[in-house]
Symmetry: C2
Subunit: 212 residues, 2 copies
């Protein structure tokens, strides 16, 4: 139902800010406002730009700028309408928490029940990186960076999200430093069973290896 994003839309969008080369698009993806929301590697940027040019959505101009030569792309009329149409399309709902740390945490109780320290380490690393991002958000690297009303709202969202995450991490670490707590709900006893299954698998493997 709802449409997804291919690299092309992101490229059109970034170029809509100002005419740009593939190289500078990559820079924006790494440190500009887009960097919080999307990313692309050179391996997709350059071929996709060629595609967009062939499709007539952007035009290329070779620019000799202080010795250096860059290929600067700008939107054509078709490019602008294409971007406009895409913006109107219903965005697809994202996996709300797609996150490797949370995925690991989800399985922690079955596979690493007693090792709470490693998880605390993961959480601390996460908090450090998140704090970095928050700082960057407060004092953007790029003093030429522009922010319109919409981007301002997004920045507000980002600040809120990141701060909330830090608070949650704090509370979580505090709890993890305390004593392990029993399951909140376990009608079928799967958690004790998991422990048992793990032990059984270990015994079976030990037996198979045979007594040395």
């Amino acid at each position: 139902m709802s449409a997804s994003v291919s690299a092309k839309e992101a490229l059109l969008g970034v170029i809509s800010f100002s005419p740009q080369s593939g190289y500078s698009i990559k820079a924006e993806m790494e440190s500009g406002g887009v960097s919080y929301i999307w990313d692309l590697s050179f391996g997709s940027i350059y071929p996709r730009l060629k595609d967009l040019e062939r499709e007539g959505l952007i035009t290329a101009v070779e620019v000799r700028d202080e010795g250096r030569v860059r290929t600067v792309y700008d939107l054509t009329h078709q490019g602008w309408s294409s971007l406009r149409r895409w913006l109107a399309e219903k965005p697809s709902y994202p996996l709300p928490l797609r996150d490797e740390l949370l995925l690991r945490m989800l399985f922690w109780g079955t596979a690493r029940p007693d090792d709470r320290q490693t998880l605390i380490g993961h959480l601390r690393d996460r908090a450090a990186k998140t704090r970095e991002l928050l700082d960057r958000l407060r004092t953007p690297l790029d003093e030429n960076g522009a922010t319109d009303e919409f981007q301002g709202l997004i920045e507000e969202y980002a600040r809120m999200r990141l701060k909330a995450e830090l608070e949650w991490i704090d509370k979580t670490i505090t709890q993890l430093q305390g004593a392990p707590r029993p399951p909140l709900r376990d009608p079928r006893g799967i958690f004790p069973k998991a422990t048992e299954r793990r032990h059984a698998a270990a015994r079976a493997a030990g037996k198979e290896a045979g007594p040395s």
Copy 2:
């Protein structure tokens, strides 16, 4: 540096909860606790399970359960250790806001400056889906669902995130219903320039088409 997730880890994790078939794994991915964090289609589940079996990380047992035949997988000792090792690996930091709605919003000012209503529609749709999720989180579909300490912490995180998102959407819609605001920062005047570029492209295209 930090390792990423392939389907295999997620599969090992889900099986760690209890021995399962490919079909029931898919069900968990769609409505269980994992559904907030990860997803997989049949197209990856079945082939990956075969791989894991060949690698000796899981074992398959044909189960005749009330007429129906299912292939139930469980972790081997090697599967458990493999899962254990993966949990210890440092998770990679995710794009903090990877989100199609936010990506569109980022470009709104350059390409759809005056159409605030469509964006409000996007935001309302988002809020509706998010409210659904929040409800599901409060009253899980699966009455047999189990929640251990770690999963409880994740649920807390999810609740916090979703509630915060709803609040932000409310505030944002309110602001968008008001008058447009000028850019917060625009040292190089890129936003007025973008409007001008868009108009110029339209004029050029009109001219090219020729006067009718």
